[in-house]
């Protein structure tokens, strides 16, 4: 059940202003972003396009403004950019990476490798 002050990721739309939660550490490697979420111990990989979108999700601009900027910057079809960004934003929301958005617990924690070293 959703907490009252968290929104359902599927309700994210072009009027939404979204940004990362404060439990994340991230690093960019060759255009990809790897995110570690301390709140649930999960690691996420963003491809280069998702990395560009992720880098501009600052919690102040609406997704409509972001989509317009990206379409212009990359000379891409605005309708396609809008569809892709919305889908990505909702996916990030489901993964629990966005502030104020209810993750669905689908993110998988890094497994504990400590239990059984190979040699026995």
């Amino acid at each position: 059940m959703s907490q009252p002050d968290l929104v359902d990721p599927d309700t994210i739309d072009l009027t939404s202003t979204i940004g990362p939660t404060d439990t994340l550490s991230s690093v960019e490697l060759d255009g990809e972003t790897v995110i570690y979420d301390e709140s649930n111990g999960s690691i996420h990989l963003l491809d280069p396009i998702a990395t560009v979108v992720w880098s501009v999700l600052d919690g102040t601009c609406t997704l409509a403004e972001i989509c317009a900027d990206l379409a212009e910057a990359f000379g891409a079809d605005p309708e396609q950019v809008t569809g892709d960004v919305l889908a990505l934003a909702r996916h990030l929301g489901h993964s629990g990476l966005l502030a104020g958005v209810q993750g669905d617990g689908s993110a998988t924690a890094v497994p504990d490798q400590g239990a059984r070293p190979d040699a026995c």
Binding site: V27, L29, Y36, L45, P111, G114, P117, A119
Partner: protein, 308 residues
């Protein structure tokens, strides 16, 4: 190493009063140092002690050990098992087969090494070797072929760092050797028949092979890795070496780290630096010799580029 067959010659200083202090130890190994784990083994079987001296030779160190294992012979008629293995005063195993006692002790050494080293170093579930100053880290899940791959690399001239836990200094990124004996599973025996131990004490499901038994002078020193190669044995597959993005490899490194969450930010930061510094590949192994040739070629190219 000190050794005797005269019962009662040794009285371990670290043994607690009572049970251990009163035992007659037939053999005391030298001190062994495995990263932050520092130990010696007292045994009531000379055969057991000698075998440990052989397989752990690359961990031998001068001085007094901080902790002790004890291997107690409870007698052939003991119904619950003849051989008891203790770490300090904690009993680890009770078994009728001495080979099982050896296996348990070596398994516990690995566990304890990881537990004691984890506070200070990032520990990656991986093998590692070095050639021409180029460190190669081989991360993979269990039963993927880490040990077999590193054994093949040693035969080809690489120097050994570990087949189990790559210890990375979190500030510098340098890898320290953890030169435990290679633990070669039954499935790899047909690929490495020349490494069969010359004794019936060899653990029934694994061969424990010191690096020097593969090639004299095979021990490596600490190294800054330049390559990450994730091996995966696939019977009948073509042997291939394909680049992997550093981001993808970082995710896999995180999943291959011992006790990642106990020092999550430290580990994530150090692994990101490791991935940033290295070229990353996935190695599908259908034929070990071909795989070794591919990795050797990669190392030579890397060494040449660095030299120029």
């Amino acid at each position: 190493m000190t050794e005797t067959t005269t019962a009662g010659r040794y009285a371990p200083r670290s043994a607690p009063d009572g049970f251990f202090a009163d035992r007659a130890w037939a053999h005391q190994t030298s001190r062994f140092r495995a990263l932050a784990h520092d130990f010696t083994v007292y045994s009531e079987s000379v055969e057991f002690g000698r075998y440990l001296e052989h397989v752990l030779v690359d961990l031998a160190a001068p001085g007094e050990a901080a902790t002790s294992y004890f291997v107690v012979d409870r007698g052939k008629r003991s119904r619950k098992g003849r051989w008891a293995v203790y770490f300090g005063d904690e009993r680890l195993s009770l078994t009728s087969r001495i080979s099982n006692a050896i296996g348990m002790l070596l398994w516990h050494v690995n566990q304890e090494t990881v537990r004691r080293t984890n506070p200070d170093m990032v520990l990656l579930h991986a093998a590692a070797a070095e050639l021409h100053g180029v460190g190669v880290v081989l991360p993979a899940p269990m039963d993927s072929g880490k040990t077999t791959t590193v054994a093949g690399l040693l035969r080809a001239g690489f120097r050994y760092l570990t087949d189990e836990a790559v210890a990375i200094h979190p500030q510098t990124g340098w890898v320290s050797p953890f030169a435990k004996p290679l633990s070669i599973d039954r499935g790899s025996w047909p690929v490495l028949p020349d490494l069969e131990p010359p004794t019936v004490l060899a653990y029934t499901n694994q061969w424990h092979v010191p690096a020097g038994a593969i090639r004299p002078g095979a021990l490596g020193n600490q190294v800054l890795p330049r390559l990450i190669v994730s091996p995966q044995f696939r019977a009948g597959a073509a042997t291939t070496l394909e680049p992997v993005s550093r981001g993808r490899m970082l995710v896999e490194l995180g999943e291959s780290t011992f006790h990642f969450h106990e020092h999550a930010i430290r580990n994530f930061t150090a692994l990101a630096e490791l991935a940033r510094r290295c070229d990353c590949y996935r190695l599908v192994i259908g034929d070990l010799d071909e795989a070794v040739a591919l990795v050797t070629g990669l190392v030579r190219t890397t060494a040449t580029l660095e030299a120029s």
